[in-house]
Symmetry: C2
Subunit: 211 residues, 2 copies
């Protein structure tokens, strides 16, 4: 059984190093689920804008949120074309030659038309999904948004239908004649770690914070 | 003596939470120097594109590079308007209420017109700067690019003149009436760490790799 894949378009066709690209739905979803900050690109009055923002995936929909007065979200909720990119950096690749230095990464690009979520139930679900994407289960251990807070929040939906992923993994790929050069070559793996939680001073904390 | 600042434009004027924004040159440079992957936004045939790529800053110039056949770089080298965004994520902010959850971050947006670097000496300098930005001093401990490799590399220059930074730091900011709710609230600090270097198998390694 072949893996489900996104139909490629001129925007999601990999032009170079095609072997590093995929249109498999599962690969795209996996990267979107591992990241938690996306870079949201859109055009306003002819200029490109790229804003970092948090997001969540629910099935084949990406939710982005912000204050109702948020410039990027307001532009999007009018129905703008967007490119949402999520990038995970896995390592620095040091080759014998400067030319073959690289970065190990996994990234996804989603192209589509954003639209504002207006249904209150979908808005509430999306708001919980965004909190849960940052800390799994968190929406069950905090105060849910009030109706007023939801009205003050703009949530936009981007369908995940025109999407692709690209990744580099593994060590350096040097030219054969450079392999015996004395320089160190290899990978410096990178990952993001969380330090111990810092409870907010002056807050009444639950047992989770005090033990 | 006031800090040198970038002149604000309609694109770099902070619209919301202005107190989190700055146009100070030093703050913008600091964030650009700490990051190593930027998100490059541009418009092609009416569509926004956002690509992750490595970069380096030299004074008030940002250098981006890629293969001569690279789609993004080719579009840029024709003289495209870009928005280059660098984002550092410093922590997850968990509040008593879902609504006040947030992310601690520092980000920079640089707007400008990209242009291809054609002078061979500037290209060589920029190529070294990009390698050194990933691992300081690395350009002195690897094989420098040959003329042929430099010709196969496209380097574009973006002036850092229309730029701003924005940051959030510190704990959650809940509404007063929610402070005694039993949920844990505080910050989960995040940072990126490097695991031990993984030497490339089959390569002759220098002393740096073997001790």
């Amino acid at each position: 059984v072949p893996e489900p894949t996104f139909t490629r378009t001129h925007r999601t066709t990999h032009r170079r190093k095609k072997e590093r690209g995929t249109h498999e739905v599962a690969s795209v979803h996996e990267i979107l689920d591992e990241g938690f900050v996306c870079h949201l690109g859109f055009v306003h009055e002819g200029s490109p804008y790229v804003f970092p923002t948090s997001y969540a995936r629910e099935g084949d929909v990406l939710y982005l949120h912000g204050a109702a007065a948020n410039f990027a979200l307001r532009t999007l909720s009018a129905g703008a074309d967007v490119c949402v990119t999520v990038t995970l950096t896995d390592g620095l690749v040091l080759a014998k030659s400067a030319f073959h230095h690289s970065v190990n990464y996994r990234s996804v690009m989603v192209f589509g038309r954003a639209e504002a979520v207006t249904d209150p139930a979908e808005k509430a679900r999306a708001a919980s999904a965004i909190v849960d994407h940052i800390v799994p289960g968190r929406s069950l251990d905090c105060l849910l948004p009030t109706d007023e807070e939801l009205r003050a929040t703009l949530i936009v939906r981007v369908p995940i239908t025109e999407a692709s992923a690209k990744a580099r993994a593994g060590g350096p790929i040097d030219d054969a004649e450079d392999l015996e050069l004395p320089h160190w070559a290899g990978v410096l793996p990178l990952h993001t770690v969380a330090d111990p939680p810092e409870g907010a001073p002056g807050y009444v904390q639950s047992w989770r914070a005090t033990r």
